[in-house]
Amino acid sequence: MTTETLYALVGVGLFILGLYALFVRANLLRKILAANVMSSGVFLVLVALARRTGTVAPDPVPHAMVITGIVVAVSVTAFALILMLRIAMKTGQTELPDTWSE
């Protein structure tokens, strides 16, 4: 297995871990963490596959996309955290109401 494949598969693993946690965890802060782990996984797949050029220099276009992605991820995280804090102020809860337990 090549380095590229190995890290791309780790990226897939991170994405799946994050997606699973996003589904099953109730706490909103945990969901925000999960979304961040998912995005790290996507970035890792992109950058690992960018090394398949056959030369020493990797493809710079995915690298630029990932840098853009990291900045967008932090913007989304900051906004999501404020939304979570507003929900917590209003309801006293850090999770969304459970609609199917009643």
């Binding site: 090394r51 056959g54 840098i67 507003r86």
Partner: protein, 322 residues
């Protein structure tokens, strides 16, 4: 393409396993504070991975933004939750009765397995060598005005991506401000260590930001890394108890926030009026224009990131005349 020799194989396996393990711990550990600290460690290991994958530009951005600033934001949010004495749900799994519900609980795991199988298959079925767009980038690097291919892609070849991204950042800050009005934080006076650290590190961080900005022309660095470093200086100052004065908060802060996006729009209009495509620079002016755009973007990104950490509108707490 390199097949792995033993030392590389050991390093890559350890890094890969470490990443997955830290991610799992961050998502599964029962205490949120622990989860966040592990997440920061995960970000640092990601940065190491970027260096391993020849992506030093990304490693710099990850250390400053992914691990540093995101970690600071998460910890600050957790502190506000604790201060507001909200009931932080202790258990993430809520027990549910009923066989049907219990069976439904297995559904996400099954779904994840299917998604994982599909993704692994896609990755393995990709061709082992693919030059992507690197040939085109190499061929045009000479006319881009910079020598670092990543900077050339960000600011020249795909400049409109960066234009839109700067607006995403501004939009996030406007969103945070419009949802603001959280109870004011009690600011503990900075201890001597934190105070000294802020006094010593802030000028160093500003100098480092200028260096990243300049270095991005030739090697790893650029507006995002420089802006993130400035943002870190802003976070440090806020932690040490510094607050912007009313005049700065009301006028200067906002002017600097829009300076980067405004410069981008002006340059974009300028290129269109000159009869070119949007953000298509004349090769002889490309270097100067990119440095101009990056300088504005650095200041705006730095203050936006610091503002995201600040949370409330900077002039809240002063007497508003409206």
């Amino acid at each position: 393409m390199d097949t792995l020799n033993l030392a590389q194989w050991v390093f890559d396996s350890l890094t890969g396993t470490g990443l997955l393990w830290l991610a799992w711990m961050a998502l599964a550990s029962p205490q949120l504070i622990r989860a966040i600290v592990i997440f920061v460690a995960f970000g640092l290991l990601m940065a190491l991975t970027w260096v391993r994958l020849d992506a030093v530009d990304i490693a710099l951005a990850e250390v400053a933004i992914g691990a540093g600033l995101t970690g600071a934001l998460l910890l600050a949010a957790l502190a506000k939750l604790t201060a507001a004495q909200t009931e932080i749900s202790k258990s993430d799994h809520r027990p549910r009765d009923g066989r049907a519900v219990r069976a439904l609980r297995q559904l996400p795991a099954v779904l994840m397995f299917l998604v994982a199988a599909g993704l692994v298959y896609s990755v393995l079925s990709l061709p082992p060598v693919s030059s992507g767009l690197s040939v085109e980038v190499d061929a045009n690097l000479g006319t881009s005005g910079v020598e670092n291919p990543v900077t050339a892609v960000l600011l020249n070849f795909r400049g409109y991506d960066t234009l839109l991204e700067i607006f995403v950042l501004l939009l996030a800050l406007l969103g945070v401000w419009s949802l603001g009005g959280l109870p004011p934080q009690r600011v503990a006076p900075a201890g001597p260590v934190l105070h000294t650290l802020a006094v010593v590190l802030t000028p160093v961080l500003i100098l480092l930001a200028a260096y990243f900005l300049w270095a991005g022309v030739k090697g790893p660095g650029g507006a995002f890394q420089a802006g993130a470093t400035l943002g870190a200086a802003g976070v440090l100052l806020q932690l040490a108890g510094w607050r912007p004065g009313p005049g700065f908060a009301r006028v200067h802060w906002r002017l600097i926030l829009v300076a980067g996006p405004a410069l981008f729009i002006l340059v974009a209009l300028f290129t269109i009026v000159a009869g070119r495509h949007l953000l298509e620079y004349a090769p002889e002016h490309a270097g100067t224009l990119i440095l101009l755009l990056e300088s504005g973007a650095t200041l705006s990104i730095g203050l936006t990131l610091a503002g995201l950490f600040f949370g409330e509108r900077p002039d809240d707490g002063y007497d508003n005349d409206n």
